[in-house]
């Protein structure tokens, strides 16, 4: 693995390898001394063109636990707003000795350009690009689902398992969601059956080609499919009932959205007993998810955060440490 740009880059065997490596990393995080020497002397740059404190901290923690040096570069604006170009920024960071660039960018495909345009020679990890992909989020979601729903007493993390036969509902703004795109691909690769649930205005034209089913009715999906896991996507308030600039909203009002697509106490009770509730955060309590659902024992939302560190440690390890071993 040279780069991690898209969940589509991962075949079943590689995805399981990453998840298994994440389980090993997670085991080390239960120790008193959490730091491993694996990436000592290597430099990881977090190149963030979008504000995302959570993802940035998660990658920073992961890199530091592996003893890598970490440079955080928060580039306000991008070449889109006529600042320094992406190319110049990336080349500058490479000149400072970066071994891997973790990039978050508002433009879909920016990590792909970084990896394939010949601008830099470093490994590239996509930490979220536009409305395209967020592969480490999908990995941490898959890791969390696998652990909860395939783990046994003897194998609590479900090491070696895929997600065959599990039903996962992903609910919310699919159109603008890189989390949904990444999860559809990765969960399908791992054998899960994915259903997207969304108002029709928030399903992209062309999604009919995705390896999942699509529904406009959350209650029907809950009743008929009895999903093993339900993932609530964040709905951004600016997508609501239009704004002062004259933009047309994707649905009439927040209340109408919540009535049809919010995970409230009633819908929570419709889930099978073993089902878990995921959310990539940050949550809009009272909009896509109620407090009852967010705080219920079924919610694994904070565990997703913890697993995010383990998964990102695994990704950095596989990209950087293995590369060195292969060369040696």
């Amino acid at each position: 693995m040279r780069h991690l740009l898209s969940a589509a880059d991962l075949d079943r065997a590689t995805a399981i390898e990453v998840l298994d490596a994440a389980a090993q990393m997670a085991a080390t995080q239960a120790r008193e001394i959490k730091k491993l020497p694996t990436l000592r002397g290597r430099t990881v740059v977090n190149l963030f063109f979008e504000d995302s404190t959570r993802t940035r901290i998660s990658f920073e923690t992961a890199a530091k636990r592996l003893s890598a040096d970490v440079i955080n570069f928060a580039a306000k604006g991008s070449s889109v707003s006529k600042g320094e170009s992406l190319k110049d920024t990336a080349q500058t960071l490479q000149a400072m000795g970066a071994d891997a660039v973790v990039i978050r960018h508002p433009a879909s495909g920016a990590p792909h350009r970084l990896a394939h345009s010949g601008w830099v020679g470093t490994s590239v990890v996509n930490a979220g690009d536009g409305t395209h992909q967020h592969p480490t989020q999908a990995l941490l979601d898959a890791y969390t689902i696998r652990r909860h729903l395939t783990g046994t007493t003897g194998n609590p993390d479900g090491v070696g398992n895929d997600l065959t036969g599990l039903r996962v509902a992903i609910v919310g703004d699919v159109l603008h969601s890189r989390v949904a795109r990444s999860n559809v691909q990765l969960l399908h690769t791992l054998g899960a059956e994915v259903t997207l649930v969304s108002p029709p205005t928030l399903v992209p034209v062309g999604a009919e080609a995705w390896p999942c089913s699509i529904s406009y009715h959350l209650d029907a999906v809950l009743a008929d499919q009895q999903p093993d896991a339900i993932m609530m996507l964040r709905v951004q308030r600016e997508r609501m009932g239009g704004d002062r600039t004259g933009a047309t909203g994707f649905f009439p009002s927040p209340l109408e959205y919540t009535r049809s697509f919010g995970l409230d106490a009633r819908r929570l009770r419709m889930l099978p007993d073993h089902a878990i509730v995921l959310h990539p955060g940050p949550m809009n309590r009272g909009l896509e998810i109620s407090a009852e659902a967010a705080d219920s024992p079924r919610a694994v939302i904070l565990e997703q955060v913890a697993n995010g560190v383990a998964v990102r440690m695994a990704v950095l390890y596989l990209l950087l440490a293995q590369e060195r071993e292969t060369l040696a």
Binding site: S78, S85, K87, H105, A107, A110, R113, S117, V205
Partner: protein, 446 residues
């Protein structure tokens, strides 16, 4: 003045024949050419195996001057045009300043004359500053030295239906035509590529086919209502072809163009995120490509126009969303039409002459008078000619093209059909595939 004897050229792909050019005209054809007194001192151009076409006419070129001379100048763009087999181009109005006054169109027209590679016919803006609110001084541009007949806000759609109606009506006074860039602006806010299966996966904002088709449907009905000529720029979808077919069947005076890239490339290329493939209207699907090929072959689509859109390297060497729309095309257009239409057996060379020369010249109303373009290859006609090697295979090298910009999407691609010579009113601008001294003219015909 030198005369040229083209030996063994196949006029429109017909039997080999000799062609004598001199005094700016076709002096003689066939057996009489070599026997003509004036042939004795002629420079002989070996044209065996080459197809002779009337000089190509582009109805849709961006020469970027004035304003973006870092991307292209009239001189560099028209030199590229000559190498592509063109003898006339229409220069779009979205320059800086915009070509919305007699002063700017005359400036572009003079720059074209000074360069001397091809005839440059400026397109006038429909609206002041391309802003889509007030009509520009169309009459002043029409009556200027540039004699503008084609008006377009290309790059922007004239989306206000009242403004579009007024423009269509107004240009009737001087037999002008409005060339519409059909793009419903609200349906394409922030749009980056064709909306469909690929856009859904790569996460780039979609440019739906309906945004083009809805405007074309409205405009053909407006044209019918007011009895005006309408030209549709760079039509790109199967639905657009159907609408034009319907409109023509009703007798509506509409003409339509397709670009070489919409005849060849699809939205699958956006998966590379390489902005070389970012263009407006966007590359569409396989089904659309097949529909525009069929529409061109059956005459629904009247012409091929390049939409040659040079951009500086920094405007393409970036992430997709930050990149400019557009690709160069003057030097590859004929080869693409040859590759996808002629070699594939869907059009013959007479069809190529029609879609790349006579029809665009007629639409632009430059097919009459001393400097007529797109004329038949007959004795007495202006000697605007292109010699093409119909079987030559060549691989596109972006650095080897003459345009000042390198944003061709065809780098490394093998094409069939190569321009060997271009004559502008009897003087070669290209010989042996190489540019030769421009025709520093200009005014009077020889």
């Amino acid at each position: 003045m030198t005369t040229y004897l083209l030996c063994g050229a196949r006029l429109l792909g017909g039997a080999p024949t000799d062609v004598l050019l001199g005094e700016g005209r076709i002096l003689a054809l066939g057996a009489s050419a070599a026997e003509d007194d004036r042939a004795s001192s002629a420079e002989v151009v070996e044209a065996a195996g080459l197809v002779a076409l009337p000089g190509l006419v582009d109805l849709h070129t961006h020469l970027r001057e004035p304003g973006r001379e870092d991307a292209e100048t009239v001189a560099s763009g028209t030199r590229a045009a000559a190498l592509g087999g063109f003898t006339a181009v229409h220069a779009m109005a979205n320059t800086s300043p915009v070509a919305d006054t007699a002063g700017v169109v005359e400036q572009v027209w003079r720059l074209g004359r000074d360069a001397g590679w091809v005839d440059v016919h400026p397109v006038g803006a429909v609206s002041v500053g391309l802003a889509g609110t007030h009509l520009a001084e169309l009459g002043a541009m029409a009556n200027s030295a540039a004699r503008v007949r084609v008006f377009s806000d290309d790059g922007h759609c004239v989306d206000d239906p009242v403004l579009m109606r007024r423009a269509l009506e107004y240009v009737k006074a001087f037999d002008g035509v409005v060339a519409q860039h059909a793009q419903e602006p609200r349906l394409t806010q922030g749009a980056q590529m064709h909306e469909g299966i690929v856009s859904a996966e790569v996460g780039l904002a979609g440019w739906p086919a309906v945004a083009e088709e809805a405007i074309i449907a409205r405009d053909v009905l407006l044209a019918e209502h007011v009895g005006s000529r309408l030209h549709v720029c760079h039509l790109s979808t199967a639905g657009s072809v159907e609408i034009i077919r319907w409109a023509k069947a009703r007798g509506i005076p509409v003409t339509a163009e397709v670009t070489p890239h919409h005849l060849l490339l699809t939205d699958e290329l956006a998966r590379t995120y390489d902005p070389l493939y970012k263009v407006n209207p966007p590359l569409r699907t396989d089904a659309d490509v097949e529909a525009v090929r069929a529409g061109l072959a059956d005459g629904t689509i009247d012409i091929v126009a390049t939409d040659h859109a040079p951009h500086t390297r920094e405007d393409k060497d970036c992430e997709w969303a930050a990149a400019a729309f557009g690709m160069t095309g003057l030097e590859t257009a004929l080869a693409i039409v040859t590759s996808v239409m002629v070699t594939a057996g869907r059009m013959d060379w007479a069809d190529v002459a029609r879609v790349l020369s006579s029809a665009p010249a007629r639409i632009g109303r430059i097919d009459q008078g001393e400097r007529a373009q797109g004329r038949p290859l007959e004795v007495g006609e202006p000697a605007n000619l292109t010699l093409v090697d119909p079987d030559a295979r060549w691989t596109v090298d972006p650095a080897g093209l003459a345009s000042a910009s390198t944003n061709t999407p065809y780098g490394g691609r093998e094409l069939v059909g190569q321009v060997r010579a271009t004559f502008l009113r009897g003087r070669p601008t290209v010989l042996d595939g190489l540019a030769v001294e421009p025709v520093r003219d200009a005014g009077a015909l020889p």
